[in-house]
């Protein structure tokens, strides 16, 4: 049962990490144009010089 002492903080930490990641993507406006982004990935214009 001692393993719980590690596993619980780890699972909570991973959850928190996920939440932070979500927060970051939200701030970066990554949900503003889901449709366009899914098509944009097919363009090769910016393979070498990504456009922000």
């Amino acid at each position: 049962m001692e393993v719980l002492g590690i596993l619980i903080p780890v699972s909570l930490g991973l959850g928190l990490l996920g939440l932070l990641g979500f927060w970051w993507t939200l701030k970066k406006g990554m949900y503003d144009d889901p449709e366009g982004d899914s098509r944009r990935i097919l363009r090769d214009d910016y393979d070498d010089h990504p456009k922000s």
Partner: protein
């Protein structure tokens, strides 16, 4: 001409009849770097993104271009002086229709912030739900005693801040409705969230077997998902009005005493002021012409297709478009008294008269909201009696009932369907401004159309080009190219398309209000009004040509909007009554009605007549869909049960209508009606589904068999089936 050299980018738009005015504007008021936002309804694929972005980025003065495919919106960062007209022209050469949107960035970021705020709360609830679920699964699969208590405690640690943060939208709205003395849906929701967490915490501290933390967080998550979808539909509704607002700047050129021109806001004009209206400009006020001759396009106000002559003494109304020559206008009515303002009053009256529509969701909430607290209170008292006063058991059963009855699926039932439906229609090119419009559209049994600009494109097309010999047509081409009159431009375009070259003419000049004249092989040639060239007027719209003594008429017809015929046929097939009500002359309206097979039509209708017709149809028990684009339609649009206007409509008309057709094809309305009927059916199905689920599982909770696992399973099952049902919308 020096202005042109300073600002070449402005006049990059050859069709821009307001070229000179635009240059003046740009030169006089240097703007900071402009952020332009355009709506491009036709964009739909990766190639569209590439074509549009590459082409515009190559344009001079453009810094960056980004096409948002989800919103079908193009954001352009450009140097000062780049006019949206130039971009729209360039896009149309690429084959995309575009409309300028009002970059009222303030309001746009405002709604954006609200959306992100909701999304953040949704995200927090989602991640908290996952983590608590991990712990809960351990408990459900048999963790006991100290381990169970520890897991419950950790769950509480996650759940309490999550509900406190993510539940805020519900708490706030519940508080608001309590203050107003109403029992909205959010009151039982908030009650359920707070009580569930409180009782679960108590149970945890007492080493109880059951804690409902995951249920509380899950409830928050699903309800927030519904709320977010609902918000998105509403935000689209709110911004659409702002978005499609004010294409023309509410400014006028005032001539001051010493002949100086000053650009002033229309609101500052007073009766007696002199105002200059350039060719291509909109008349800003009601007034009388004191100087100049021109032709006036009244189609947006009255639906007349033929331009009217305007000379000294002619009375103009605000909203008309000046076509050929500059006019000086003495203001007779401004602000409150102008005809535009009177129209706005009529619109306000019509809107007030329109009975408030109660949506399906409101009706369901009204019936359902009180049953939630009543049921769980009932369960509490019943179990107090049965168990002989076991408070803890009774409270637990009451909480389980509260969770089961809480309208998770109900909260998703409407927004999920509306989101699916409006997304579907938006991809086709129909913007839904009002969330309840789909429900209202489903009830429609009568469709009223305006003619000019709605069933037609409002652009004339020559009909009898082959009747004229080549030399005459070539001379006409040369004359037509010298004018920016809509008939002349249409004629020139059509003749060019036939491969004709213009003849060489001398002394070419435009006589504002009458036409164009010149000398060809020593003879006087004129293209213009019948009286001016000395021709017998023909019945239809026409431009007249005279060469020496030979007179010819080029006749025109207003081109039908693509899909108009198919739409009317489809509507009639479905048994809907179709009306054509126009302000145009009877002959033109009758012609259009026979072409489309519409039996019921009315011509020379004033704005009040249109609204009265719709009111009388309503009184006869019909639900009317009004489709119109002009200022003369706005009253009718706001009086109708539901209304649609094309994107080319005047902003007042777009603001008054519930939906906006972004593309040119009008047959989409047929699709919209079908999708509206389907989505109303789906909403009803969803209500039945959540009702059924309650009918089955509430008794289970009432008899006390509802464990936290059971509650979680049932809750997610119902929410998912409701969402899937919404996605079934084809």
């Amino acid at each position: 001409m020096t202005d042109t050299l300073h600002a070449p980018s402005v006049s990059a738009c050859p069709a821009c009849v307001a070229g000179d005015a635009a240059i003046d504007r740009a030169a006089r008021a240097p703007l900071p770097d402009a952020r332009l936002v355009l709506s491009v309804p036709g964009a739909h694929c990766a190639a569209c993104i590439a074509t549009i972005e590459r082409d515009l980025e190559a344009m001079k003065g453009i810094q960056s271009v980004r096409l948002n495919l989800t919103m079908k919106r193009l954001s352009v960062q450009a140097d000062a002086g780049i006019e949206p007209g130039a971009l729209i022209e360039r896009l149309s050469r690429l084959g995309y229709d575009a409309h300028e949107l009002d970059p009222g960035t303030l309001s746009m970021t405002e709604t954006d912030r609200q959306g992100r705020d909701l999304l953040m709360r949704l995200g927090v609830a989602g991640f908290a739900m996952m983590n608590i679920m991990l712990l809960s699964v351990a408990v459900w699969s048999g963790a006991a005693d100290a381990t169970r208590d520890l897991f419950h405690l950790i769950s509480a640690l996650i759940a309490i801040p999550t509900v406190a943060f993510s539940g805020q939208p519900f708490f706030r709205s519940a508080a608001k409705s309590m203050r107003a003395g109403r029992l909205g849906m959010d009151v039982p929701i908030s009650l359920a969230l707070v009580l569930t967490v409180a009782i679960s915490l108590y149970e945890t501290l007492q080493s109880g077997k059951h804690a409902y933390f995951e249920a509380a967080v899950m409830l928050t998550f699903f309800l927030l998902a519904g709320r977010y979808l609902d918000y998105r539909a509403r935000a689209a509704a709110r911004s659409a009005a702002q978005e499609l607002a004010a294409l023309e700047v509410p400014r006028a050129i005032r001539l001051d005493g010493d002949g100086r021109e000053a650009t002033v806001p229309v609101a500052e004009l007073a009766v007696g002021d002199l105002v200059l209206v350039r060719p291509g400009g909109r008349v800003p006020v009601d007034g009388v012409v004191t100087k100049g001759q021109s032709e006036i396009d009244r189609s947006l106000l009255t639906g007349e297709t033929l331009p009217a002559f305007a000379g000294e003494g002619s009375v103009l109304s605000a909203g008309e478009v000046n076509l050929t020559g500059p006019l000086t206008v003495r203001v007779t009515a401004a602000g409150r008294d102008s005809s535009l303002h009177r129209m706005a009053d009529l619109v306000a009256n019509a809107e007030a008269a329109r009975t408030k529509y109660t949506t399906l969701a409101e009706r369901a909430a009204l019936a359902y909201a009180p049953t939630i607290p009543i049921l769980s209170l009932g369960a509490f008292f019943a179990w107090m009696y049965i168990s002989g006063g076991d408070l803890r058991l009774s409270v637990n059963i009451a909480i389980a009932t509260l969770i089961i009855t809480c309208p998770c699926a109900l909260g998703l039932a409407v927004p999920a369907v509306v989101t699916a439906a409006s997304g579907k229609l938006f991809r086709k090119g129909l913007l839904i401004k009002d969330g309840t419009a789909l429900e209202r559209l489903a009830e429609v049994d009568t469709v009223v159309f305006d003619k000019t600009g709605t069933l037609t494109l409002g652009a004339p097309v020559p009909t009898n080009l082959e009747d004229h010999p080549e030399p005459a047509a070539s001379a006409a081409l040369a004359l037509a190219e010298a004018s920016s009159h809509p008939l002349a431009m249409a004629l020139a375009g059509a003749l060019r398309a036939r491969g004709l070259r213009p003849e060489k003419l001398e002394a070419l000049q435009e006589v504002p209000g009458y036409g164009v004249e010149g000398r060809w092989q020593g003879q006087l040639v004129r293209l213009g009004r019948a009286g001016w060239v000395g021709a017998e007027p023909v019945a239809s719209t026409a431009a007249y040509l005279v060469i020496a003594d030979e007179r010819r008429a080029f006749t025109f017809t207003d081109q039908l909007r693509p899909g108009a015929g198919a739409l009317v046929a489809a509507l009639k097939r479905e048994g809907k009554a179709v009306w054509l009500i126009s302000g145009d002359v009877p002959a033109a309206v009758a012609d259009m009605a026979t072409r489309l097979g519409i039996a019921d039509w009315q011509a020379e209708a004033l704005p009040e007549d249109k609204a009265a017709k719709i009111a009388s149809l309503h009184e006869a028990g019909h639900k009317v869909l009004m489709v119109g684009d002009g200022l003369n339609d706005t009253v009718a649009l706001s009086a109708a049960h539901v209304s649609i206007s094309p994107a080319s409509a005047l902003d007042a008309a777009r603001a008054a209508s519930d939906m906006v057709l972004l593309g040119r094809d009008i047959s989409l309305i047929e699709d919209a009606l079908r999708v509206a009927r389907l989505s109303t059916r789906r909403i009803r199905e969803n209500f039945w589904q959540s009702g059924l689920y309650n009918a089955i599982f509430v008794p289970v909770a009432l008899v006390g068999w509802c464990t936290p696992l059971f509650a979680a399973a049932v809750m997610s099952l119902s929410s998912i089936t409701v969402s899937l049902n919404a996605l079934r919308l084809k």
